[in-house]
C-alpha cells in the first residue's frame, strides 16, 4: 500500500538575540518563568509588534539555503484562535504572502539521493508554554510561562513526497544539519523543532498528527499511524480525515478532532505591521551565506583527497568538519579523517555525547599531539584509543595520561639492546635453544618484557631474539 507523508516543521530561530516582535532576550531556556517578557509578548492592550530585522535576515538565509523562491513582498497575517498559551487570541503568522514558496532538500535514502520538495516557508511567533505542577492529569490548575511567547519560528512545509517514517526522520536530520550550518538554529535546545505530520495511505483520508517534539517521535508516530490505518482498512473501515495527537510516553496517536471540527482561523493581514520588501535583505544575506554541507563535502574530497564515505560523515556536523580541518593542517588528512570518523565519533556515539561536548573534552590541538606520538611510533594504536577514552571520561593532559598509563612504546634500538643483553646474561638459555629447545627463547623474551615493564611488543621481541640468535650462531 502506498504511504504518502508530508511534514510541517516548526523551527525556532533560537540563535537570535531577541524575539520576533519585541526586544525581549531569547535566552530564556532554564530561566525563571515569565522573566523574559514585556507588554508586546504578553499581549497587553496598546502594545504593538515591531519586526526584528535580524529574524528576517535569518529566515531569508534559510529560504536561500533551501533553494526556495523568496517572495519580493511578504506580509504578516493574524491566525485567530483561542488557547490559554496564546496571549493575544491570535498568532502573528503568514498566510498568502509568506516568506518563500517551493524549494527542496536533498536527502540520502537506501535507494540513493532523493529530492524532498517544499511547498512553502513562512515566519511566525511562538506562543507561551503551559506547564503543570505534577502531571497534567492530576494538576489542579495550569501555569503559563510567556518566556517563549513571541520567539521567532519558521514553518517549513514539505510537499507530500515522503514515503516512509524513516524517510521522514532522515529529512528532519538533514534539515537540522542545514539549519545548524546557517548558524540560525541550535537543535539541542528544548522545543527547538516541533513537527506536524500529515499521512495518508492510498484510499484513505488525510490524517494530521500534531506537535511531535522529537525526530524519534516523528518516526514512531508515523509507524504507529501506518499500522493503525492498515488495520482499519483490513477490517473494511474507512480512514476519515482527522487531526490526532501523539502520546509520546505510550508511542500511540489519539484522535483530537474530526474534519467537521476543523478550526477556521479567520486569517487577515496584521494591520499593525507593514509589508516587508525582501529585496532589501536578499543580496546581503546571499553574500554572507556560509558553505553548505554538500559544498563542504565536495571541497573536503578535493582538498584533502578524502573518500566520499569519510567526507559525508565529516560534514554531518559543521563542528566536526571544522575540527577535522584544524587537525588536517598538522597531520596527514587521511589519517586524521580516519581517526576522527572511525574512532572519535564512535566513542562519542557510544557515550551519547554530542560532538561539541567531545570537542570540549579533547580539542583539536590535543588530538594533533596524540596522533603525532602515534605517527612517530611513540605510542601504539591501542594506546591512542586508550588516551581518547580517558580524555572523554576523565580528562587530563595527553602527555600525563600516556605517562601515567605507561603507554609510550620503547624505541627499537632500546629493544635491540635489551635483546642482546638478555642473550649475554643467559648463556644457559642460549645453549638450550641451540640444543633444539626452541621454547627456551621464551625465557629470553620474558627477560625483555620484565626489563621494559611489559611495554615491549612480545611478538616483535621474540622475532628479534630469534634473529640475533640465528645471527650469532
Amino acid at each position: 500500500m502506498d504511504v504518502v507523508i508530508g511534514l510541517e516543521v516548526h523551527v525556532q530561530l533560537n540563535r537570535l538575540k531577541t524575539k520576533l516582535f519585541c526586544s525581549c532576550p531569547l535566552d530564556y531556556h532554564g530561566r525563571e518563568p515569565n522573566t523574559h517578557v514585556c507588554p508586546v509578548c504578553l499581549g497587553l492592550p496598546g502594545a504593538m509588534p515591531v519586526i526584528n530585522r535580524e529574524a528576517v535576515r535569518s529566515a531569508i538565509k534559510v529560504a536561500l539555503a533551501l533553494n526556495a523562491e523568496i517572495n519580493p513582498v511578504m506580509r504578516f497575517d493574524r491566525k485567530n484562535y483561542f488557547y490559554p498559551d496564546l496571549p493575544k487570541g491570535f498568532q502573528i503568522s503568514q498566510y498568502d504572502m509568506p516568506l518563500a514558496w517551493g524549494g527542496y532538500v536533498t536527502i540520502e535514502t537506501e535507494s540513493g539521493e532523493k529530492r524532498v520538495t517544499l511547498k512553502r516557508i513562512h515566519m511566525e511567533e511562538d506562543p507561551g508554554k503551559l506547564s503543570y505542577k505534577g502531571s497534567i492529569t492530576t494538576a489542579k490548575y495550569s501555569l503559563i510561562d510567556y518566556n517563549r511567547s513571541g520567539a521567532p519560528l519558521l514553518e517549513i512545509v514539505t510537499e507530500p513526497v515522503l514515503r516512509s517514517p524513516k524517510e521522514a526522520r532522515t529529512f528532519l536530520n538533514t534539515l537540522r544539519i542545514i539549519l545548524e550550518y546557517l548558524d540560525v538554529f541550535d537543535g539541542d535546545l528544548e522545543g527547538a523543532m516541533r513537527v506536524d505530520a500529515n499521512i495518508s495511505i492510498a484510499g484513505g483520508g488525510r490524517v494530521e498528527i500534531k506537535n511531535i517534539s522529537s525526530f524519534k517521535g516523528v518516526e514512531r508516530a508515523l509507524a504507529y499511524e501506518i499500522t493503525r490505518q492498515k488495520n482499519l482498512m483490513r477490517r473494511g473501515r474507512k480512514i476519515e480525515r482527522e487531526t490526532r495527537h501523539f502520546d509520546e510516553a505510550n508511542s500511540i496517536t489519539v484522535s483530537l478532532r474530526s474534519k467537521e471540527e476543523e478550526q477556521d482561523y479567520r486569517y487577515f493581514p496584521e494591520p499593525d505591521l507593514v509589508p516587508i520588501y525582501t529585496s532589501e535583505f536578499v543580496d546581503d544575506v546571499k553574500d554572507a551565506l556560509p558553505e553548505m554541507p554538500w559544498e563542504k563535502r565536495e571541497r573536503l574530497i578535493k582538498q584533502y583527497s578524502l573518500s566520499l564515505e569519510k567526507a559525508k560523515i565529516l560534514v554531518l556536523d559543521p563542528k566536526m568538519a571544522d575540527y577535522f580541518e584544524r587537525v588536517a593542517k598538522e597531520i596527514d588528512p587521511r589519517v586524521a579523517a580516519s581517526w576522527i570518523v572511525d574512532v572519535l565519533r564512535g566513542e562519542l556515539n557510544y557515550r551519547d555525547m554530542s560532538f561539541s561536548e567531545g570537542e570540549r573534552r579533547l580539542n583539536s590541538d590535543e588530538l594533533v599531539e596524540l596522533l603525532t606520538y602515534f605517527l612517530k611510533g611513540r605510542i601504539t594504536e591501542k594506546g591512542v584509543v586508550e588516551v581518547i577514552r580517558t580524555k572523554l571520561d576523565h580528562g587530563g593532559s595527553v602527555e600525563e595520561i600516556i605517562q601515567s598509563k605507561g603507554l609510550f612504546s620503547i624505541p627499537q634500538d632500546e629493544i635491540d639492546r635489551l635483546c642482546r643483553e638478555a642473550i649475554e646474561k643467559n648463556p644457559k638459555a642460549v645453549e638450550d635453544y641451540r640444543a633444539g629447545k626452541k621454547q627456551a627463547a621464551n625465557f629470553l623474551v620474558g627477560y625483555v618484557m620484565k626489563m621494559t615493564e611489559g611495554r615491549a611488543d612480545p611478538g616483535e621481541t621474540a622475532r628479534k631474539i630469534r634473529e640475533i640468535l640465528e645471527e650469532i650462531s
Binding site: G43, L44, P45
Partner: protein, 455 residues
Amino acid sequence: MITVREWKERLNEGKAYDAVAELIERAKRNRYNSFITVTEEIALKQAEEYDRGNREGKLAGIPVAVKDNISTEGVRTTCASRMLENYIPPFDAHVVERLKQEGAIIIGKTNMDEFGMGTTTETSYFGVVKNPKDEERVAGGSSGGSASAIAGNETVLALGTDTGGSIRCPSSFTGVYGLKPTYGLVSRYGLVAYANSLEQIGPMASAIDDLGLLLEVIAGKDERDSTNAGKSFHYSPVEKKFRIGVIKEMRADERVMEVFDEFTRSISKFAEVEEVSLPSLSYALPAYYVIAMSEASSNLARYDGVRYGHSLESLDSWTNYFSRVRKEGFGKEVKRRIMMGSYALSAGYFGKYYLKALKVRTLVVQDFMRAFERFDLLISPTMPSTAFRIGELADPVTMYMADINTTPINLAGLPALSMPAGEVNGLPVGVQVIGNHFEENKILGFGRMVERNEV
C-alpha cells in the same frame, strides 16, 4: 470653554494649583459624567511643580484630559469596559509620554463608548455622557467624555481617538474643535486597539490654534508603531484663497443643511467654493463597518481574563472560563461587533465581505485623490444631525448610519477637522474640513480664517 490663551492669562494672575483645583472640583462633581478617572493627586502635584517654577515644555501648566483607551502608566485605563475596569497599564502611550515631556497636567481619563464602539457614549460601562449644551442629549461618541470635558469647562485640552468619527462626532455635537490627523502622523503605541488600520489619536480643544499646539506635541516619529510615518508636525497654518470642494454625497437633515449651506455661502467671501462628487462614498459606510468589526473581532480576542482584566475565581475548563469572562466583561454592542467581525472573516464569507470592503477602500482613496487634484480642501456637515436625545438611537443600524460622513475619511487615512459652524435650536452644528494626507496645516489655516471671519 477655555482656550489655552485664556488659561495662560489665568496662570499669570494666580496660582496654577488653584486653577487646576477648580477644574478638578468641577470634574469631580461629575455633572456630565465626562471622566471615568480623575487623576486629582497627579494633576495637583504637577500644578504645584508649575507654581514652584518648573515651567518647561510647550504645554507647561496646561490641563489635558486623556481618553480612557490611551494607556497611562499607573493610572487605570478601562476603555469604558467592565473587562478592563481595574486594568492598570505598566507603560505610557507614546502620546502620554509626549504630554509629560512637554509639561502638560493630565487631569483625568475621559469617558467613551466601550472600546470606542459607538456614536453616543451610551455603550460605556460607566454610563452615558451628557451634552453640556443640553443635558437631555448625548455628547456624541466615542470620545464623548473628552468633548463634554472641554465644553463643560472641566479641561482646556483633550485627547480623543477617531476610528470612524469618534473625535469629530462629539466635537460637532458639543460645539468644540476636534482634529483627526492623517493616518500615521501620531503614534498609536499605547492606544488600546479597536480597528488598527483606521484609527488615530487626535487633539480636541476650543480653538484652532490649540489643536495645532496639541498636535505638534503628540505627532512625530515613534518606532514602536510600525505604521507611524516618521514625520513630525510643525504648526504653521497656511492661509490663502483656498479652493474648497463641497462633497455632494455627504448630506445631513434639513435644519443642519441650512446651517451648512449658510456656512458655504459665507466662506465664498474668501475662498473658491464648488461642488464635487465622490461616487464611491455610497459604499463607504458598509465597507468601513466590515473592516472595523473584522479588526475588532481579532483585537478583542486577548481579553480572556488570564493575565489581566475581568476574571473569575475558577471554572471547569478553559473554554468555559474564556466564554464566561467575555460574556460578563463585554457589553452588548462590543459583542455584536465581535460576532459580526468574526463572521465577515470566516471561511466562505471572507471574499464576500472583507476583501470587497478592501476594494471599496481603494476606490474611496482614489475618489479623494482625484478630488484633491482640483481642491485644496473638501467640506461637509460633520454629522447628519444635531445631538440625539439620550436613548433615542434604539437600533444599531440607525446608529451606524450616523457615521456616514465621517467614516470615509478613516478609510482613506485623511486628516479632517470638525469645527463649530452654527446652531439649530441651541444645538451645535459642526462642519467637517478634510485635507489631503499630511496637510493639517491647510486645514488649520482654513479653520483660522473661518474663526476670524466669524462665519
